[in-house]
Amino acid sequence: MRPELVLQLTIDGLLLGGVFALAALGLNVIFGVTRIVNLAHGNIVVLTALSAAIAFQRFGITPIEGLPVAMVGGALLGVIIDRLILRRLPEDAPTAETTSLLLTFGVSYFLVGLSLAIFTGDFRSVAYLTGSWLVGPLSIGKSRFLAFAVAIVIAAMLGVLLRSTKIGRALRAASQNLDGARACGVSIDRMRTLSFGLGSAIAAAAGALLSMIYAVNPDSGSQFTLIAFSVVALGGLGSYAGALLGSAILGLAVSFVGFFGNTQLGAMMPYVVFILVLLFRPSGLLGKSVA
């Protein structure tokens, strides 16, 4: 086997991992604080991707130029979803987790309907940065590299935010122990809303960037939710380093198995890994085990 082929597949796998990470980081932020698995996450990704396509085709605004606006829009959407809907759940009810899951499922369907009404069922995509840099025999996709780089930057910024700022410490406190954090004067309500806003802003960033890689329509949301969920489960729910590691492993698995096995098998990898993790290491690679 030629070394440049292995190198190319590794590059492809890592860049794909970046794409996966981008989809997954926001889901993790929300879960970390609220313990809510947001099944509408992929729909926010898709809603932004469709908006990015319209912005590009009608007004010539590239997804990179539109990134800040997209993230603000995503944050607002996240805050609205939390304040208007999820907030109304009694948080200490014994069925809170199931109910929140069903609610986000409902929100996801609502967002599909909303996207259909706004964007119709057409597939859209942004024809920008679709090429690649050629380095000797290797090719590095531009849009993929950008998604990869942004995923790393976002993960790093999250790390700094959580470790070195007051808000970050409050967020971490809320995710570790609700009652303890509350006793120390942390507003749990505010932390929840903050995490929804932050997580959805990252989902929106993902949508803007992924619009340059895939063609999506309003029905594509569940695919991104599934990928994000597999990544997060592999890396450990709530762990950011875990999410990066998980997405790198999945990206490499899809790339190598897709090449040496077949594409069918490659496409199955995220779900195979997901099931294996649940069976043998339910807390994920870097997750703290659930007592």
Partner: protein, 397 residues
């Protein structure tokens, strides 16, 4: 006020609305009830977008024919149910059309899968049915007597791409596509067609529906180093494959995607990368087929949009049915069947002609190419709007 209308007024007051409406209708309008043609259409579910165009083809023809006085001096009525893109639902609805609604004639539903399922209803009731949305020949291989294919065979979708490869000396072909019924039926036919043309298949692998990424398949195609890449892909996977091939710097001399780039939207979503891409269609507004110009204009006037090849095929199906009825001057099922099985009929799609299994041999596929942001027919030569531009241009970065 005469006695009848006084009675009518009384009856309405008494709540016998339905009976009276039927009675007065008979007295006022034509002296014969309309000819009812039954079908189902996928108005919801995964086929809904394409099926919409198919239904509009039927509706346009019925509208036009009624304006001309209908058939055999009777008005025509199209009765259809929403089969929700589900074969089992469609079967129940076709049974209802025959047994309960007692429709005079049947025409086919949308998609190969649903046609395959409802064909049995037509067979059991000995009702002739022309089916304009079945491109797979598989249902006809099981010996149907009453069902006729009103769409070009799916294997013909790649005839142009193969001929173009042959003419230009592109020997090595890579084939990929979505692993579902329709793309698979085409992909499986390619090796034989390629062999006949003296071409070699150097790669042939399908990917699952909703595949998450196409990078691995692009790398494999690159390793196979083909002259031509044939993707049997719908819209989203055509875009996904195109991007993956570009980013992996795969540089075939011919790039063909069977159906995705047929949609006018492809140019908008794929941008400059669309240029040079070949695709396929079974109808074009510039075909010099029977009544084609009038068909296109009337369609635009009625629906404020352009027809696609589904609209044309459904319209053509009713052209054939009408020819059968007018020739025999009756709705006799045996006579209509005989006509459909043996007669060549000029339609907007071309010349309708079926073989002894009911498989369409008259209609052909055309090959399109994206050039400068628009689609042009480049194959066959007789319908050419522009000459094909080959080889496929180098990727602009």
């Amino acid at each position: 006020m005469n006695v009848t209308s006084r009675l009518t007024a009384l009856a309405v007051c008494g709540g016998l609305l339905a009976g009276v409406a039927a009675g007065s209708g008979r007295a006022g309008a034509a002296d014969q009830p309309p000819i009812v043609i039954g079908t189902t259409i996928s108005q919801t579910g995964s086929y809904a977008e394409d099926a919409k165009y198919a239904l509009q083809g039927y509706q346009l023809w019925v509208n036009q024919q009624n304006a001309k006085g209908g058939l055999l001096g009777r008005k025509i009525e199209l009765k259809y149910y929403d089969d929700a893109s589900d074969p089992a639902t469609a079967v129940t609805q076709y049974q209802k059309l025959v047994q309960q609604d007692k429709v005079a004639l049947l025409v086919g539903p949308y998609s190969s899968a649903i046609t395959a399922a409802v064909a049995n209803v037509a067979e059991q009731n000995k009702m002739p049915m022309i089916s304009p949305e079945v491109s797979s020949v598989a249902p006809f291989k099981r010996g149907l007597k009453w069902v006729f294919q009103g769409q070009a065979q799916s294997t013909r979708y790649v005839a142009g791409a193969i001929d173009i490869a042959k003419q230009n000396g592109y020997k090595k072909i890579a084939v990929t596509g979505e692993d579902t019924a329709f793309p698979r039926s085409i992909a499986q036919a390619i090796p034989d067609l390629a062999k006949e043309a003296g071409l070699e298949i150097v790669f042939n692998e399908l990917y699952p529906h909703n595949a998450s990424d196409y990078t691995a398949i692009a790398q494999k195609i690159k390793q196979a180093n083909p002259d031509a890449v044939f993707g049997i892909s719908y819209f989203p996977d055509s875009i996904g494959l195109l991007r993956a091939l570009k980013q992996a710097n795969v540089t075939p001399k011919e790039l063909f995607f069977a159906v995705g780039p047929t949609e006018p939207n492809f140019g908008k979503e794929a941008g400059k990368d669309a240029d040079g891409v070949l695709s396929t269609t079974n109808w074009s507004a510039n075909l010099k087929t029977a009544d084609n110009g009038d068909f296109t204009k009337a369609f635009q006037a009625m629906f404020k949009s352009n027809p696609d090849y589904h609209s044309a095929a459904n319209y053509a199906a009713l052209q054939v049915l009408a020819a059968a009825i007018n020739k025999n001057k009756s709705l006799d099922a045996d006579k209509i069947r005989e006509f459909m099985a043996t007669t060549k009929v000029p339609t907007v799609m071309g010349t309708y002609e079926v073989d002894s299994s009911g498989i369409q041999v008259g209609y052909n596929s055309l090959t399109l190419q994206w050039q400068g942001g628009s689609q042009y027919v480049v194959w066959p030569a007789s319908y050419q709007q522009k000459k094909p531009q080959l080889p496929f241009p180098a990727w602009t970065r």
